[in-house]
Amino acid sequence: MNRRLLPRLLLTPAMVTLFLWMIVPLVMTLYFSFIHYNLMQPDQTGFAGLENFEYFVTDPSFGTAVLNTLLLLGSVILITVVFGVAIALLINEPFPGRGIVRVLLISPFFVMPTVNALMWKNMMMNPIYGVLAQVWMFFGAQPVDWLTDLPLFSVIVMVAWQWLPFATLIFMTALQSMNHEQLEASRMDGANYLQQLRYLYVPHLGRSVAVVVMIELIFLLSIFAEIYTTTGGGPGDASTNVTFLIFKQALLNFDAGVASAGALFAVLLANIAAVFLIRMVGKNLDK
């Protein structure tokens, strides 16, 4: 078999399907975004110009949604990286029951987002019967109505709970590959734990932080299930992110035109993030 033709032949199916998967929706979205297209008002048709974009961007919910998206992204990444490193360092050395601890720690990652959301909403955060309310009352405090008073924070808690195990697992794997002779040598030279942390552990983790940030970014930009099943974006827009705002336009307002304009904005947002992150990780993976 021709050694030049073969790789192309093997590569083609994946590239063609992926290309179609990317370009067909993109072109259609682009087209929809410039026409009047409301599923409830089929008589309204024709070229809309930039009306849809204007409508989406001037929607009072828009600014909030962008801010919420960034807040959600930033806080979850920060929480998972900081606590992930801490927990990974904590369980890095052997101790009794380490295997079971690992299994317990990793479990939330496999939990379906819809289950995660409903579990926190009802059993943990319910202001009357929820476990948190009971704990608050035990200490004589007034229980918090989490999803009404702190909706975005509640969503952040749920999402961070889900992704912390992922970060922990990756940092743990990275720590296992630390050079033990180097650590031993630094100890002999009289370095204390904090110095080791500063000069050996943290630099070693740089690359895994890049991987964690990239993968979380991919998945967190489009957080949907947690919001859909708990707050429905509310109260008001308090927990609406860009993904959910577009969903609302498309399925609750039936306005495919405006939803498409919003979708293009989401694509733009994702790509800005991608340019920075893919470069960073790309360099890291180059070796």
Partner: protein, 279 residues
Amino acid sequence: MTARRRSSYPLGLLALRTVAAWGVALLLFFPLGWLLLTAFKTELQAIAVPPLLFFTPTFENFHEVQERSDYLLYAKNSVITSVLSTVVGLMLAAPAAYAMAFFKGKYTKDILMWMLSTKMMPAVGAFVPIYVLAQKSHLLDTQLALIIVFALSNLPIMVWMLYSHFKDIPREILEAARMDGATLWQEVRLVLLPLGMGGLASTGLLCLVLSWNEAFWSLNLSAAKAGTLATLIASYSSPEGLFWAKLSAASLMAIAPIVVFGWFSQKQLVQGLTFGAVK
């Protein structure tokens, strides 16, 4: 080696570490543990104040979930869509990853980057067109639609994972096989598959988990016929469905297979998830 390290380790610090690690682990696992307990309570016990820790377990909820909403149908849809989308994804991704890992060309890196960049497009960005296409081709609420969508949305990650695994296979082995006159098929069957099995397994595992838990597309493209367990659980979010014990039982049945599966495959998953970048 380990014994020596442990002996030089102060006992007090070990005790402290043990307590702290178990504390953190139990705290993070608590919501799941609570879900597990609630699934075996009666509805009254589930909302008892103060919460009940000890009670006589009942299996009533599990029966009722099945009777009320046909759990088995949703479970079957979940199994079919996640397994088949993983198979389809692997069939597309493996040859591509193989080609890029062993026949590195001028554009290989750009292709890889481009593939990953398609994953940066949020699902909702493609939602309206995909919905319209599914509707026009009468694929709404079918397993086929979900299989295609799951496979394609996981494809970039699959290619990346397989690529980084295949890249770690020493080229010399493949070259030696070629020198010995192995055909492509022999090369794949005798060298690539045995050596790349770990990569294929971890990639498949991750896709299975992602497809099983996928909610956006399942909620919006499927309903009563092709709905997955994610759809079933979301239907419990309405206020009238607020029966915690039943919700817990349904949730437990939805997550148990994949959580247990995850426990057994965590090692392979880590390797896969980091694209082999973290060792």
